[in-house]
């Protein structure tokens, strides 16, 4: 029934830790021009989570297809595979208390090895790869672990400044246990000099925060003569213990 029914854990029902909005990019980051007209300007309405924010749907492992976590093959013609540097991306989803989170739905998307997206809005010169779609998904195991196989995405130019390039990156959508944990972010690659030129990455005010989005080359997890590996951990909002919470009526 639920991701947690496989374990002996009681479902947690506490409210989530307050979000540290100074750690995230602010809504308005003028160097990323599209944010200018799409950033709310009025104060947010703050309130402690109600059940509407604490609760969230559960996605079971049964929904996954065999190749969902293999972007090298999930769009490829039979017997063929995507072009590019073969990599494994793996890591864990943790909450702010450091606990591994099982049952988290991760959905990822990316450009191909040449930096081109399979999308009608992308008109970059680099060609499409007929064997690469660019999407995949996984659900974390008991310890919060996940892994998928793909090709390293290429950097690409984008219309913002006269000459802006996105660093190589993989987009991640993360679905935790409560709807208030919902998060979309991007994973960057260790050693990529473009990260520090990127108006989107640098919309995050704190350099230490940007560094938490940079996956490390993980030689111990490589598959010799097949694929290199990058390790990328993701942290979602922690939740308060409900031990001392006021009980909802009817509990």
């Amino acid at each position: 029934m639920s991701a947690e029914s496989g374990s002996n854990r009681r479902p947690e029902t506490g409210a989530f830790f307050q979000r540290d909005r100074t750690w995230h990019p602010p809504a308005l980051t003028p160097n990323y021009k599209t944010s200018i007209l799409r950033s709310p300007q009025k104060a947010l309405l703050a309130f402690d989570n109600t059940l509407s924010e604490i609760s969230g749907p559960v996605f079971g492992h049964a929904m996954l297809g065999e190749l969902d976590a293999d972007l090298i093959h999930n769009f490829a013609r039979p017997g063929e595979s995507a072009l590019g540097e073969r990599i494994i991306v793996h890591g864990r989803v943790l909450d702010e208390r450091g606990a591994g989170m099982p049952g988290v739905l991760l959905e990822f998307w990316q450009a191909n090895a040449g930096g081109r997206y399979r999308h009608k809005k992308d008109g970059y010169l680099a060609p499409l790869d007929p064997n690469f779609g660019g999407c995949g998904r996984a659900i974390t195991g008991e310890d919060g672990g996940y892994a998928f196989r793909t090709v390293k995405p290429g950097p690409y130019p984008w219309p913002n400044g006269p000459n802006d390039w996105r660093p190589s990156h993989i987009h991640f959508s993360v679905f935790g246990h409560g709807f208030a944990q919902r998060l979309i972010t991007q994973m960057y690659f260790e050693g990529d000099p473009l990260i520090w030129h990127c108006p989107i990455a640098r919309g995050i005010p704190d350099k230490a925060a940007i560094e938490t989005l940079i996956a490390a080359l993980d030689m111990q997890a490589t598959i010799p003569f097949d694929a290199r590996a990058y390790k990328f951990d993701i942290v979602l909002r922690g939740r308060r213990s409900s031990l001392f919470e006021n009980r909802l009526e009817g509990n």
Binding site: R19, D20, R21, W23, H24, P25, A27, T29, Y32, T34, S35, I36, R38, S39, P40, K42, L44, L45, A46, F47, D48, T50, L51, E53, S55, G56, P57, V58, G65, L67, D95, E96, G98, E107, F108, W109, Y117, R118, H119, K121, D122, G133, C135, S173, F179, A180, L183, I184, T185, Q186, A201, G203, I204, A209, I234, V235, L236, N246, L248, G250
Partner: protein, 204 residues
């Protein structure tokens, strides 16, 4: 020095970008054969309990232009006000209703449409009932951190008037930004990212 609290920091958000469809609704943007269907595209079936309603949602930028590259997720209780979630301790929700949906805005019209049911009332932290509502989460190119708000219903005047969240709004003129207008079986809701009619977004 005191002991360390040993807490991690939440991963910082980054925009969903213009190609969010590839990851979240691949069939919608022409990437077929990877997933059978797009997740969250269908919310109700024949057995789902409750009043069928439609939602027509648009997202508008600071110039009043409709976004054509946004994506909206909704999360709601079932007809009895129960969430289909392990965090729901009051009873079992309708097994034919997950309560979660996902819809990209149409690439031409910017319209986002959901077929769902009218949710029941859910208790606030102190046990008072909140008015029926649907939680919205909005992402798009240019939005650095997903926006969280709620859709309330125009034909629930009495419940809205006693809703503890709506009651917290100091500027009462902003309350209507959270209320969808009923037009026959459909509720129409415009999300304004900026401007005089800027929607109330939440920090919760």
């Amino acid at each position: 020095m005191a002991q360390s609290l040993d807490r991690l920091k939440e991963s910082p958000s980054q925009t969903a970008g213009p190609y969010v469809h590839i990851g979240l609704t691949p069939n919608f943007c022409g990437i077929g054969g990877v997933y059978a269907t797009d997740l969250g595209a269908t919310m109700v079936n024949d057995k789902t309990r409750g009043e069928r309603i439609g939602l027509r949602i648009r997202v508008l930028d600071g110039t009043g232009t409709t976004l054509k590259d946004a994506l909206i997720e909704i999360w709601q209780a079932d007809a009895d006000g129960l969430y289909n979630s392990p965090a729901e301790m009051r009873g079992a929700a309708d097994p034919n209703f997950l309560g979660w949906g996902r819809c990209p805005t149409d690439m031409e019209t910017g319209l986002c449409t959901f077929e769902t049911i009218k949710p029941g009332r859910v208790p606030f932290r102190d046990g008072r009932l909140m008015a029926p509502h649907i939680t919205l989460w909005i992402v798009a190119r240019g939005i650095n951190l997903g926006l969280h708000t709620r859709l309330y219903f125009s034909d629930e005047e009495k419940a809205n008037a006693e809703d503890p969240i709506l009651a917290r709004l100091e500027h009462r003129v902003r309350v209507p930004t959270l209320i969808a207008e009923r037009k026959s079986d459909t509720y129409v809701f415009d999300v304004h990212l900026q401007g005089e009619k800027e929607t109330v977004f939440f920090d919760s």
